[in-house]
Symmetry: C2
Subunit: 416 residues, 2 copies
C-alpha cells in the first residue's frame, strides 16, 4: 500500500479523526473544546515544520515563518471550526494548504524576503452564536464587544462565557487587533461551496467580491382556529399567507439572476409554524430570509420588493406582518491586483481560474477592510458544504498547495 | 352583588379555576392528573344532585339518574380534557349543560320513564397522543388496543402507561364496551367552533353529519446546501417545492366549497423544515394536511388532486415526495329523526336551530356507530376554540341547558 501523503494525514489530524468518512460529519463549534483541540493540532504541525506559533487574545493562532523579521508579513489562512454535523474541508482546506505550501517551500530551501504567516481564525461559523467570523473581526478591530458579550448559544452559554472557557479573557479580546503595518497581504483558500468552477470548465476560482447577506425575519400573525370547523373564507391562515412569499422570493431571485450580470440568490431558509398541530390552522409563521448579491443595489431592491409583496398579503389573507432586518451588510470587494495575480499564478503552473463572486462570507471579508486580500476557491464535490458529505479531492487540495506555493514564490522573492 | 349561578360556579369548578380569564388557557391533557381532577369534580357534583356515579374501565365517568332501573338510558355528555393551552368550554359545555339540565329537572320533580345518564368521556382530544376520542371508542368497542398501546406522547409516555398511571388497567380497557341495549339515544352538546350559526341568524346548531378527516403527511426531500453559494437554478429547495402545495390546498378547497352544496375544508396545518438554519437551503420539509368534508367523495377527490400536484412538483423542483395517509375516515351521519327532534325541541321553547355539518370530530361520532345520536352546537365567540380566548356566554350555556331539559321532557315522558 502506498504511504499516505503528509497532506492527507494532516487533513485527518486537523479533523481529529482516523477517517474522513463520518456519517454524522464533524462538529467543532466556535470556542468549543473540539475547536481548541483542532487548533492545538495545527500548532503542533506548524512547530514541527519550524514555524513560530502564538495564540492571540481572540484565540486566533498565528504560525510565522521568519518570526524575528518585523517586516509586514504575507499571510494565508482560514478556520478550523465547523457547523454542527458539518464537513471536514470548509475552513480546514485553507489552513491545511497554507501549512503544506510553507512546508514544501521550506523543504525546497526557499528564503522569503519577509515573514510568511499561516493564520487559523477562531470561530468563523455563525452556527453557534448567530455571529460569524469572530476571530477575524477581532483581528481587524471590528468586534463590537458590548453588543456580543451576552449573545447566547442554544444551551444558554454566552459568547463571553465560551471565550473564557477557552482560557481567554473577554476583557482583552479586542487586543487581538493588528495594525495595518503587521501584514502586507492576506490570501484565503476555501472550498467553493458551489459548482460554478466545474461548470465553467475551469480548475479553480478567484473571488472578486463577497456578497454579504441581507437577512430578514418575517413574522406573519394570523388567527389559529379549528381546521375542521373554520370555513375556507373565514380563515386567517399565516402559512397560506407565507406560501406565495416563499414562491416569490425564489422566482424573483432567479429572474433577477437571469436579467443581470451578477447573480442574486435569495432563500426562505427558516420557517417556524405555530401551533404546528394537525387540527389547528397556523396562527403564526416566522420566516427567515437570506438574500445575497455582490450588487448591493440588486440585493436591497429585492428586499424592498419582498416587503411590497408582504403588504399585498396583509390585505389578501387578513394577516398582520412584521419584518425585522437582522443583517444588512455591504458587499466586500477584494483587491483587484491581488485577484489578478492569483489568476496569473494559476496559469503560470497550468491551472485556469474563474473570476467569480463569492456568495458565502469568509474571514477574508474582514481582512479586506485593512489589507489587500484575495480568495482562492478549490472545487468541492456537488458544491456540497456544511454537510457530512462535503468533499474535496486530494488532487484539488494539492492544486491549492501549488497555487499558494507559487504565489508566495512570486510575491516573496520580489518584495515591492 | 348578584349571587353567581350554579352553572357559572360549576363551569369554573370543572375547569379547576377561580376565573375563566386565563392568559395561558387550560391544559388538561387526556389521561393526565388534571383531567382526572376535573372528572372528580364532575362526580362530586353528580353525586350532590343525587346521581349514581361509576367510572368504567376506560376512565369514562357515567352519572346515572334512576340507576336501579335497567331500561335503556337516554344519555348526554361530552368530555373534560382539553388541548394544551386550550379553552374552558370545548367539552366542558356539554358535560356542564347535561348535569345542569338533570339538576333542574330533578328540582322540578320530573320523573323520567327510564334512566338518564350524563357521561364524561375520557381523553377526547388528539393533542396528546395523536389519537382522539379514546374513551368513546372504548365504550363502542372501537378501540384497537394492540395498535394503540405503544403510541407515545411528546414526553415518551405511551397511552398504556398514561392509562395505568390513572389507576386503570390497560388489559381491561376494552371492557368499557357497552351493549346496544344499554342506551336508547345519545345527545352531545358542544360549542360550535365556528360562526355559521351566528351568520345564519340562528340561535343554535344541529349537526346532520360529522366530516371525519383524511390526513396526509407529505415528506418533501430536496438537497440542503449553502444559501450564499448555490445559484438559483441549481437548487433542490424543499420549502420552495412545498409553497405551491400549501397555496393549492387552500385555493382548491375554497373553490370546491364554492362549487358544491357541502363545504370542503383543507389545511396545511403543520410544517417542519430541516435544517431550518438561516444559511442552509431547506433540504427537507414535512407537511401535515387535514382535509374534511361530509362528502367523502369531495374529500378524497381533493386528496387525489393534491397527490397529482405533488407529482408536478417532483419534476419542477427536483425533489422526491413521499405521501403517507395517516387517517382516512368516512363521514358519520347522525340520526335524522333525533336531529329533527332536537330542532323541534328548540323551536318549542323559542330557539331557532341551523341544520349544519360538523367539521370537527366529537365523541358522538363513535356513539353513532351503536345508538341513535344527535349533536347540538351552542355558539362560541368568533368561532374560536382550542385557544385561551375560547368563550361561550352564560346565556348560550343556559340555552343549552334549556334545550337538553326540554328534549328529556319530550323523550322521557313518552317512551316509544
Amino acid at each position: 500500500m502506498e504511504k499516505e501523503s503528509w497532506l492527507m494525514t494532516t487533513l485527518k489530524q486537523l479533523n481529529l479523526t482516523d477517517s474522513m468518512e463520518q456519517e454524522e460529519g464533524f462538529s467543532r463549534l466556535g470556542y468549543s473544546e473540539e475547536e481548541w483541540k483542532s487548533i492545538a493540532v495545527f500548532e503542533e504541525k506548524a512547530i514541527s515544520i519550524g514555524l513560530e506559533v502564538r495564540r492571540d487574545e481572540a484565540g486566533n493562532s498565528i504560525a510565522r515563518w521568519n518570526a524575528n523579521d518585523d517586516k509586514p508579513a504575507l499571510a494565508m489562512g482560514s478556520h478550523l471550526d465547523t457547523v454542527k454535523n458539518g464537513g471536514g474541508y470548509d475552513g480546514v482546506a485553507g489552513v491545511l494548504c497554507g501549512l503544506a505550501a510553507v512546508k514544501e517551500l521550506k523543504e525546497e530551501g526557499f528564503q522569503p524576503a519577509f515573514p510568511i504567516e499561516v493564520i487559523c481564525f477562531a470561530s468563523e461559523e455563525s452556527s453557534r452564536f448567530g455571529v460569524s467570523t469572530i476571530g477575524s473581526k477581532a483581528m481587524t478591530g471590528q468586534l463590537n464587544k458590548g453588543q456580543l458579550a451576552e449573545v447566547k448559544d442554544d444551551d444558554g452559554i454566552s459568547i463571553k462565557e465560551a471565550v473564557e472557557s477557552c482560557g481567554l479573557s473577554w476583557k482583552n479580546i479586542t487586543d487581538a487587533e493588528r495594525p495595518k503595518e503587521a501584514l502586507r497581504q492576506f490570501i484565503e483558500l476555501h472550498i467553493e461551496q458551489g459548482t460554478r468552477v466545474e461548470e465553467a470548465g475551469k480548475s479553480f476560482g478567484i473571488a472578486t467580491a463577497i456578497a454579504c447577506p441581507t437577512r430578514l425575519m418575517i413574522e406573519i400573525e394570523g388567527q389559529s382556529s379549528h381546521t375542521g370547523s373554520t370555513p375556507m373564507d373565514k380563515r386567517k391562515d399565516a402559512l397560506v399567507a407565507a406560501a406565495p412569499i416563499i414562491s416569490f422570493i425564489s422566482q424573483r431571485a432567479r429572474q433577477l439572476s437571469d436579467e443581470n450580470e451578477v447573480p442574486v440568490v435569495a432563500t426562505a431558509s427558516m420557517a417556524n409554524v405555530y401551533p404546528n398541530k394537525m387540527t389547528s390552522i397556523p396562527g403564526r409563521v416566522e420566516l427567515g430570509v437570506d438574500i445575497r448579491s455582490v450588487s448591493d443595489e440588486l440585493k436591497r431592491g429585492l428586499a424592498d420588493e419582498i416587503q411590497l409583496e408582504l403588504e399585498k398579503m396583509t390585505t389578501q389573507y387578513q394577516v398582520k406582518i412584521n419584518t425585522r432586518t437582522l443583517v444588512d451588510d455591504d458587499s466586500v470587494f477584494l483587491n483587484p491586483s491581488v485577484t489578478e495575480s492569483i489568476k496569473e499564478t494559476g496559469e503560470q503552473i497550468g491551472y485556469h481560474g474563474l473570476m467569480m463572486e463569492s456568495g458565502a462570507g469568509h474571514d477574508v471579508m474582514n481582512m479586506a477592510s485593512r489589507w489587500p486580500t484575495g480568495l482562492v476557491f478549490i472545487p468541492c464535490r456537488d458544491g456540497l458544504s456544511h454537510h457530512p458529505d462535503e468533499f474535496a479531492s486530494e488532487s484539488d487540495l494539492n492544486m491549492g498547495v501549488e497555487i499558494l506555493k507559487q504565489y508566495m514564490k512570486n510575491e516573496a522573492s520580489n518584495p515591492s
